[in-house]
Symmetry: C2
Subunit: 429 residues, 2 copies
């Protein structure tokens, strides 16, 4: 993973980051890196995520999925228990179809279950606590659908969960293959583990290459942002946020990285969005969103930096010659050439308007490249959390709503549920 | 469409909108409505979009698609030429599969074309000018793929374009069914026209109900935000943006409206994001993003209002009874009940943190409801544009990049292409 922060400098963006600021920041990066390294060595909560390329056990994952024969995998989870697997599945070229049940929309759940050949479908249910309401509700519904179709769900269900709890008990009762969630790793940092890798292993993806890509980023971590692509990204994003760029539009120029942008959005929002600080991640896609979001990024409120991601090498497709008026320049070009020209044009267009962007380049969109990108962004996020001085690995603000929802559903007495009843209304109909 | 702005009031949100401000704003809404109505009556550029429920000709659209027999539709367009059709297709229950080719990623285009039975596929190519580089490049590639598969593309291609230009000439040369783009309607406002309705017509969708839903919103337009749901939404979003809420997270609680959020993101970004004003649209999905974005919306920078959309009525799905520990409260509930509890809990959770939200409710997610939503949001956007005093229907900031890309591809001499060469670099690798 290569990072180019040239277009975040104050010679380009207004406001931007001066070279002097980067030098000053580098001292804080050195301190932060020392804390990160100590946390990593001690396998402290959260920091343990950065050890996953070493601690993940691909053989155990392979052994867990080996007995399962399927054409389709249904991942049942939500948030960090689903986005990693979805990203891996949408980025790599797997030989199974992977669907994610990460919402509790009855119309969608029903339609999806109806569309699958359940006798050729496996379920991977993922919940650290084993009590996540959305995940367990969907699992109960999916299991019942298999029962109704005469399919033995116990032969086709794989579990990833904590060492105790509902799902662990269920796995033991029915002798299901069960993997442990990694210790000390919050869901959004768990892609390189038993949470997301089973999807790749089941579909013949190159798990070793994914971990090798992550390891190559791990090896690049150092006490200087000028030596560490991940830290250059994290520190520059932090400095831009401090200067008012409170939105980070993640815009990969590769369709297969669209889900990666969603994964990044969770990582960035839930880790950094606390105590009034952080940066709101906007999910975008190049070149498509040039015809949707670019007008705003370039000329709207001065609050959005843009992260432009692309591979250096793509499978290519020539554009046929044409006699269409004014389009002959396209003939002989290729779709990839067009996409790359648009990437560079968008980057220059933002720069010409004084809007900051950061370029992220991978060699290829493949297992190795994805491993670099996932690990690199996790390290960038952890560094940014250190610089913001916030508890990166907590997510306290989501608890309130969970209690309210549980109260509304009759799952106990919760004060928060009463606030729902007392809503202020001003209806226009 | 019913709008509840209670949680945007200053008794809930900090900063919020006072009732006195709403009263003052209502005077400006009356003036803006007078301009909108005059523009609509005169079919002026942009405002003409609000006449589409009357001027659209469903019979002509039906006649154009009638000769085409297909199982799959490939919409080739980008931005406003694709998002309307994608939204209609993903929201309604159509009897064809609809794919969109709205990017120039060679890997994706190749994979998609390879996955289709081209002999059962129709193409709808949409470009007002007939020269949009991405669209024409994809069309040339798709046409060649049909040729290579021995499929006569001229029997399976429908065109929507302007009255002159490449695509018009092509349609005439090959006797293709060709529909006119509506006059005076920018792409992002063209969903209720020949641009997006052919997808619905081909797939047996209820085009009349879609237009009827839009008409019911059109009939509600009046000189007061207190009488007009669309204006209540537009005026309140404007007032919140002026108070620092420069992000609008569009969060439908219905999977089938996920693409609607993308359509909205283009409408809102490209129409309002200019001259330093506007509001950045963030695409979200309930309940999924409660486990991804909610932490940030509730506790991150005070810059994001949230729009919560839901239907009052959903097809439902009971959650099976369970003896899983601590989850018995779910048994006997339903997925829809769980989703609605989460909707209300999230809304209350934002309010408890002083973060503004607006509730949008539809009777149902169906053709009528979608018509209300599309038209309502267009009217809201046009009103907000009047209040911001910006040229809602232009998108000047995207031209720079188009010229740069064209120059890079050898399509002429453009100064902007030189800026690409002169990029400021600061590489970390």
């Amino acid at each position: 993973m290569e990072i180019d922060i040239g277009n975040a400098l104050d010679s380009v963006a207004t406001p931007g980051v001066s070279r002097a600021t980067l030098e000053r920041l580098d001292g804080r990066v050195a301190d932060a890196h020392a804390r990160i390294e100590a946390g990593l060595d001690g396998r402290d909560h959260g920091y343990a995520a950065l050890a996953l390329p070493e601690t993940a056990d691909p053989d155990a994952i392979q052994a867990a999925v080996d007995p399962i024969d399927c054409e389709t995998l249904l991942v049942v989870g939500i948030g960090g228990s689903a986005l990693g697997a979805a990203t891996v599945a949408d980025t790599l070229d797997l030989d199974i179809e992977v669907h994610t049940l990460d919402n509790v929309d009855p119309a969608h759940t029903r339609e999806l279950l109806d569309s699958l050949d359940l006798s050729r479908t496996a379920i991977h249910v993922v919940s650290r606590s084993g009590t996540t309401a959305e995940t367990l509700a969907n699992f109960l519904v999916a299991r019942e659908a298999m029962d109704a179709a005469g399919v033995d769900w116990t032969e086709r269900t794989l579990v990833t969960t904590g060492q105790a709890g509902n799902l662990r008990n269920l796995a033991e009762r029915h002798d299901l293959p069960a993997l442990d969630v990694p210790t000390g790793v919050p869901g959004r940092f768990s892609a390189l583990s038993t949470v997301a890798l089973p999807a790749a292993a089941l579909g013949g993806g190159d798990v070793e290459a994914l971990l090798a890509g992550a390891r190559s980023e791990a090896e690049s971590l150092s006490g200087s942002l000028f030596e560490t692509p991940a830290y250059a990204y994290g520190a520059t994003s932090y400095a831009l946020a401090q200067r008012g760029w409170r939105v980070n539009a993640m815009m990969p120029y590769a369709e297969s990285l669209e889900t990666f942008a969603e994964w990044f959005a969770q990582l960035w929002a839930e880790s950094l969005g606390k105590e009034g600080v952080g940066q709101l991640p906007a999910r975008a896609l190049g070149a498509t969103d040039q015809h949707s979001q670019l007008q705003l990024y370039r000329a709207g409120p001065r609050n959005a930096m843009v992260t432009l991601v692309r591979p250096r090498d793509r499978p290519d497709l020539p554009i046929p010659e044409t006699d269409l008026e004014g389009l002959s320049y396209l003939g002989g070009a290729s779709l990839g050439g067009l996409l790359d020209a648009e990437f560079e044009a968008t980057e220059a267009s933002l720069a010409a308007a004084g809007r900051p962007s950061i370029r992220v380049e991978l060699e290829r969109v493949d297992a190795h490249g994805l491993g670099e990108l996932l690990y690199g962004m996790e390290a960038a996020c952890i560094l940014a959390g250190e610089l913001f001085s916030i508890p990166t690995f907590e997510q306290p603000a989501v608890e309130w709503g969970k209690r309210a929802a549980r109260g509304l559903l009759g799952g106990g007495e919760f004060e928060e549920a009463r606030a729902v009843e007392e809503k202020t209304r001003l209806l226009i109909d």
